[in-house]
Every structure is written in structure tokens, then in C-alpha cells.
Symmetry: C2
């Protein structure tokens, strides 16, 4: 059973660990997690230097590694970051897979971090055994990935999966992280969006909240207004998801992320909105909670590495590839 | 250059013709169109009997046909209608490809009619030369198809492509053909939807319209209110399309159908809504008018036949297949 060094690189932290994939479908083993701060403000060159040093260091800890897998924030194509938000300055253009291959001497599989999450859930989590999985992560933002026959669908410009940026009327007039206010689902259904919706819907006498967690905690404490906001937000997301499922027709939808862990109130409203918006032919498609939690991106990065090294190795560049 | 008998079966009429595909990318030749009424109310068994007789008849007109291609209303899988609306009673369950193969002695390629339209535009129309095409038809209803590497993406239950049934706030409270009123784009952006939106937005003194064509004609005649309705409807569709493109990331979007032929007012609003909703990374994806008009489904049916007969022939069932 091969073991990979895996990396999950986000705007706040860089998590690493050793993931051993069980070929016969057992649960992967994730070991020896070590996390460092991304220190994003220091910019892409500095991050990549520290990342390569960390990878070289970690590879020395373990004999016989089969390769390196990384899921990174930003739009990933051919092992390079082709676009990134201002959250990580000068991350765009960084040839991450090259740098990791050079630092470790191992083959590298690289995907976007949301795609890594989806790959993990598709192969070893809630999507196991299905051919076509729509994975959606509802946390600070909303991300998505479509996994078909085990491989991510990346689209024509490596951008596919941005399910937070599909239309929903509840988002109209609320600024989305992508810049529009014409009505996307993310600004009213992510964790940040839950807080934004609460602050928009509340009366002047009610204090504003700072984040989605505050809304969840108020609702858990019996606050009826916070519960109403959560139900409204989750129902809207369910309606948007129903529409996406009418378009994509996956076998299952896997829903993960901190907001998705907020309880039955959120899930019931999500499922009610989905049932209203999905057609008769798609209504039975199950919405399943993710099973791997925070380990999903690391496990998915290992899957990406295994796919590149096992199936997609390029004779000209045996140690560098991305899927 | 192979010639196929091709069939486009809708709720109103069954069109047939001979399509000759040019292997080197030239424009297909469509000849000898003949159309009969579907007489849908007579039900699936009767339709299939008349369809098979028509096909047998037409095959005798032309020597050396390479096969039969059909695009049919309804959800198509393995040459069978697995679901259909009440517009064609008892169409569900009809083994159409089997019946056509038996009647003609030829190999049969069968897809949904909206998929046939998309296949035609992808291979020989506005999508020519691109790997990933989102095709959308805006007529009485709104249908769509996703064509990847030349083949239709049909999803887990052969339902993929139902882009009329994605969320948009303008549709909230307006009954969609799928039954929901939680807010789909079709009931306010199809031809029927354009009329519904006009009738919803008008004041009591303004006479109601019966169809989208009435709204287009009023606008063409200088009616400012009709023009405003068209702009509102097309902008909403553009916003919904922008969201779908953020999710799917195709190379191009091909927009066809009677409403898409209604002029610059509609297209300008469509493009403005799209530009507002698409992310920076997808905004440059072109929205292109379809090039094949009403011939698209016949040409796409020929492509389906060519794909089945050339690439997907099943050794156990050499004359019957669908893609």
C-alpha cells in the first residue's frame, strides 16, 4: 500500500501529512500531521520557498514514499497556479509542482484544494462507489468540484466547479467574493454569507454578528431569528443545488465544510430547498454529508498523486505532472 | 462521405431528411426533408408504428445509407425513452432504436432532441473546433446539452443538460414546466416565459399577450414596455448562464432557438447579464448564436448515428445502440 506525502495549502495554513491509500477500498491512514502558517502576506516566492523546504524535510522522515500530492488554493493547471485571489499575493504563476519535485526527488500530483477535497470524498468518503460526484464545500466561502469516473472535471480553463458563483435570487444586491452583486449563492449561503444575511435581515435593535459561527451558536441557544436566518440561507442553497443537479445529473452530492456541520436545522432546510428545485427525475439524488472532515483534502491530494504517478506519468517529464 | 437517414421527433412534428457528413469539416448537406405531424395524442405505440413505417419508406428512397440517426423528445438511454412529459402520452418505455433498426435494417444512433441539437452545433456549427461546448436552446422551453470531446455528457440518469431548470430569482413564484415555483429560469426566459413575464409585469390597462412572439413583435414595433420585458428576461437568462459557466467552464456557449433569433435587444441584455454574473476567469467565454438553425437536430442525429456505428458498435447488438 503506497504512502504519499500530502499537502493542503490554504490562505491561512499549510497542512502536511502522510497518507497511505488502501487499494482495496479501505479507509486511508493519515499520519504525522504537521501544520505551518502560510504567512500569505509574504507573497508567493516566499511561500513556495518555505513549502519546498518543508516538503524536503518531511520526505526525510519517511522511507519509501511513493510520491507527493498537493491541493492548493488558486486555479491549478499543469502543476502551476494560473490564477489566485489577493488573499495570497503573487501566488499566480508559481510553478509549485516543479519546485516540489525538485525539492523531494519524487513525482508530484497537484490539484486545486477544493478539487482535492472532492477527490478525497469521491474515492474514500461519502462518494465511494459512485461514478459521478458533485462535491460542495460550505465554509468561509463555497467551493465545488465535479468528479467523473474518479477524475476531476476541470473545464476548458481549469475553472470548473465554482458552484458558489451560480445564480440565486436571495443573493441579489449582496456583494459576492467574485465582485458581482447580481445574485450569487455564496454571499448568502457560505459561513460569511450566513452572517451577512443575518445582518441584512435583522432589525436595528438586534446586534450585528461577525461570522457564521455566531449565527449557529445563537440558533443552538434557542434564538428563533438566528434559526430563521439559517433556514432561509440553507433553503436557498438547496434550491441553487437543485438547479445545478438538474444541469449536471450526478449520482450523489457530497456536502462538506464547517457550515454543513452546523446541524439538523441547516440540513433540513437544505434538503427542503433541494426537493423543491430538483426535477422529478433528479429529486432522488442523495445529498450526503462528507465523511472525511478536514482530512479530505490530504486524502484527495494522495489520490491526485496516485493518479499522476500511476496513470498519467509523462515519459518526457517523469517526475512532474498534474491532473 | 456517409449519408444517414435522420429524424427529429418533437411533440408537434416528426421531421426526416438525409444528412451527408463531410469528414473533413465541411458543412453537412441536408436533403429531401419530409415532415409528418406527431399526432402526440394518439400515444406512444401509434407514434412508434408510424415512425417505423416512415423510416422504412424513406430508406427505400436512397441507396447506400450508412445508418439512421434520431433525436427525440424525452429522456433517452440505450435507445429507449426512459421518461417523457405528458405532451406525448405513453412515449415513456418505447424502444425506439430497436423499432427503427428492425424497420430499416440499419444501425441506429439515438439521443434526446436537445442533445441532437447540441451535437450538431458542436460538430458542424458554432461550436466547431472546440472541446467543451454548452449548447442552450431558447424556444417554447429552454433546453441544454453539454458536449465534451465531441460526445454528449448525459449524467448519471441520462438527465444532464436541463439548464432551463437552474435557479434564478426572477422566476420566483412563477410556475415552471417541471412543477416548481421556487424560481427557475425557464418560466421567465423561454418564449412562453417571455409572455408570462410580460403579463406579470403589465398594468391592468395593457392587454395580455399569448406568446413570446407577440412580445417580440410589439418590441419590434417600438413598444417600450415590451422592449423592457425582453431586456429583463434576457438579462436574467444571461445571469443564470454566467452562473452555469462558472460551474462548467466550457470553451464556448452556443445559444439557439426562436427566442435567440429575436434580435440585438435580446442579445445585448443576455450578454450584459452574463458579464455581470460570470467571474473574471470565465467572462471571456463567448456566447455564440447557433449557425445551423432548424437543421441542427437532424445534423446532430447524423453525428449520433456516426458515433454509434463508427465508434460504439456493440458486438452483441451490431445494429442497435445509443450514445
Amino acid at each position: 500500500m503506497p504512502t504519499y506525502l500530502t499537502i493542503d495549502l490554504g490562505g491561512t495554513k499549510i497542512a502536511t501529512g502522510f497518507v497511505t491509500l488502501d487499494d482495496v477500498g479501505g479507509t486511508p491512514v493519515v499520519e504525522d500531521l504537521r501544520t505551518i502558517p502560510t504567512e500569505a502576506a509574504r507573497g508567493g516566492d516566499d511561500i513556495l520557498r518555505r513549502l519546498a523546504a518543508l516538503a524536503a524535510d518531511r520526505v526525510r522522515e519517511r522511507d519509501g514514499l511513493a510520491g507527493v500530492g498537493i491541493g492548493s488554493a488558486g486555479v491549478v493547471a499543469d502543476g502551476t497556479i494560473i490564477a489566485a485571489t489577493d488573499l495570497i499575493p503573487r501566488w499566480t504563476g508559481q510553478r509549485v509542482a516543479d519546485a516540489l519535485a525538485e525539492a523531494t526527488g519524487l513525482g508530484v500530483g497537484m490539484v486545486n484544494d477544493v478539487v482535492a477535497h472532492g477527490l478525497g470524498e469521491a474515492h474514500h468518503g461519502a462518494g465511494r462507489g459512485h461514478a459521478c460526484i458533485l462535491s460542495i464545500g460550505v465554509g468561509t466561502g463555497i467551493g465545488g468540484a465535479l468528479i467523473e469516473d474518479g477524475h476531476p472535471v476541470t473545464g476548458a480553463h481549469a475553472v470548473a466547479g465554482h458552484i458558489g458563483h451560480i445564480a440565486h435570487g436571495l443573493g441579489r444586491g449582496v456583494r459576492c467574493s467574485c465582485g458581482t452583486d447580481c445574485g450569487h449563492i455564496e454571499p448568502v449561503a457560505s459561513g460569511t454569507g450566513l452572517a451577512a444575511l443575518y445582518n441584512l435581515m435583522k432589525d436595528d435593535a438586534t446586534p450585528a454578528v461577525a461570522g457564521g459561527k455566531d449565527v449557529s451558536e445563537l440558533a443552538a441557544g434557542g434564538d428563533a431569528f438566528a434559526a430563521e436566518v439559517i433556514a432561509r440561507s440553507a433553503r436557498a442553497l438547496g434550491e441553487a443545488l437543485g438547479g445545478a443537479v438538474n444541469l449536471l445529473d450526478p449520482d450523489v452530492v457530497v456536502v462538506s465544510g464547517s457550515v454543513a456541520e452546523s446541524g439538523a436545522l441547516w440540513w433540513d432546510a437544505l434538503r427542503a430547498g433541494f426537493a423543491d428545485s430538483a426535477m422529478a427525475l433528479t429529486r432522488a439524488i442523495p445529498l450526503l454529508p462528507g465523511e472525511l472532515g478536514g482530512a479530505a483534502p490530504l486524502i484527495g491530494a494522495a489520490v491526485a498523486a496516485a493518479q499522476v504517478i500511476g496513470e498519467h506519468a509523462c515519459p518526457q517529464h517523469p517526475s512532474i505532472a498534474s491532473i
